[in-house]
């Protein structure tokens, strides 16, 4: 083998050449990577924002424009303006007449393969969930990924009960039941063949809605009261 004899004959000049080659290639690589990153970044960000916007329109039918909100630790909402760095978790959707259609809530939790990220739409006037979309999942193709495709499953989210009782808590926690065993309006009819994935969706929505829906409900009520008093004046 020629390489072996080469290594045996190594001399200082040769290591300098090796160093030069590696550093040279390293510099070319760094330049190429930074160049592509800079060139593609604006488009990647735009595409991601568009995908999210599309999902919001999907879960809140009739929405014309949206406003992102962040959640303070004390349970109040704050507006997030465009270009703001803080993570938005909530989006309010408004129709053409600036009337609130509902809120879209992002949530995530462990699925079968990896974390599933979803978004669901909440209609505060009816106190129901009106839409659901999978934002990101690595569930098994053909089985677990039915959570984003199966018509019967998606129909669960047309009017899922998340009403808030007087003490400011959800009356019933959203939960997934076995396929065909749905009896109450807050239950999600599961999918046979995607048991774990569909149960995970129930858990994610259950947990997220327990935290977020009472706050949104309170906010909506305050907004209504304010509007009523404005009208009276």
């Amino acid at each position: 083998m020629s390489e072996v004899s080469n290594i045996a004959m190594q001399n200082p000049a040769n290591s300098k050449k090796m160093l030069l080659a590696m550093v040279g290639i390293g510099i070319i690589s760094a330049f190429l990577i930074v160049l592509t990153y800079e060139l593609t970044l604006p488009r990647v960000q735009r595409l991601k924002a568009e995908a999210l916007e599309k999902a919001i329109f999907e879960v809140l039918p009739g929405t014309d424009h949206t406003q992102a909100f962040g959640l303070n630790t004390d349970g109040t909402l704050f507006k997030i303006e465009e270009g703001d760095k803080s993570e938005a978790a909530l989006y309010a959707g408004y129709d053409k007449g600036d009337k609130l259609v509902g809120y879209a809530v992002e949530a995530a939790g462990q699925g079968y393969a990896d974390v599933i990220r979803i978004i669901y739409g909440y209609d505060p006037s009816e106190q129901i969930l009106i839409g659901f979309q999978v934002l990101e999942s690595k569930e098994t193709p053909g089985l677990g990924d039915k959570i984003g495709k199966e018509e019967a499953f998606l129909n669960n989210f047309k009017a899922l009960d998340v009403s808030v009782s007087n003490d400011g808590q959800l009356r019933n926690k959203v939960i997934t039941v076995k396929q065909g065993e749905k009896q109450n309006p807050w239950e999600i009819d599961g999918i046979t063949g995607a048991t774990i994935s569909s149960r995970a969706i129930g858990d994610i929505i259950g947990k997220s809605s327990m935290e977020v829906i009472p706050i949104l409900h309170q906010n909506y009520k305050n907004g209504q009261n304010k509007m009523n008093s404005d009208e009276q004046q």
Partner: protein, 210 residues
């Protein structure tokens, strides 16, 4: 890995350099290289095609650069420098695919980054590009790249038709078609690969006999 390129390189024509990757030395069906993406990302025709083209692009760019630098890189650090070059173009491809379609990037997932360790690319750098001129290296990369894409597409098409009843998301059968779920699961990848290897081998043995 095939090592007959270096010995016979003076005699082969340019067309031959291109054609060999498509058929005689097909990276998947004959050399059986890079099985990880072949089995993992061939569940639909679209994924297979995107994965194949991404790999072909990385292969082409790395072959060009390796061939360009073949007299400059000392033997002792050649593997390290090939990996560096390949990793660079994989990262570039990763960003490019994100910019083309977020959906596509999501469905290819981790397998884009795993092109780095696809032994097909390293084997072409080591066995071919480091010993041949740029022109020949480009032809070799195109042949091997398209051969890889073709093979992936052969698998992806069969798996999508049987497992999902569609091709490129266009439904082929009427509503009543019961899809073979197993074909889009990992097991289906092995079944389909075995089937194609059987067909290709049968064809090639027949050719040798006659």
């Amino acid at each position: 890995m095939s090592n007959n390129d270096s010995t016979s390189k003076q005699k082969v024509t340019s067309t031959d350099e291109f054609i060999k990757g498509l058929w005689r030395d097909n990276p998947v069906f004959v050399q059986v290289l890079g099985m990880c993406p072949v089995l993992a990302v061939s569940n639909t025709a679209e994924n297979a095609l995107a994965m194949g083209l991404a790999t072909a692009f990385v292969l082409l760019m790395s072959n060009i650069l390796v061939s360009l630098l073949r007299n400059f890189v000392p033997k002792q650090v050649r593997i390290a420098s090939y990996i560096l070059i390949i990793a660079t173009f994989v990262t570039v491809t990763d960003y490019a695919i994100q910019a083309i379609s977020v959906e596509l990037h999501k469905s290819l997932g981790a397998f884009i980054s795993l092109i780095v360790v696809n032994c097909l690319i390293l084997s072409r750098a080591e066995a071919f590009a480091s010993k041949n001129t740029i022109g020949r290296s480009i032809l070799d990369a195109l042949g091997m790249g398209f051969g890889f894409t073709l093979a992936l597409f052969c698998l992806g098409a069969v798996r999508e038709i049987l497992g999902n009843g569609s091709i490129f998301n266009i439904p082929l059968f009427s509503e009543g078609y019961q899809s073979w779920i197993v074909m889009i699961l990992p097991a289906g990848g092995f079944f389909t690969l075995a089937l194609w290897l059987l067909i290709i081998n049968a064809l090639q043995t027949r050719k040798v006999k006659s």
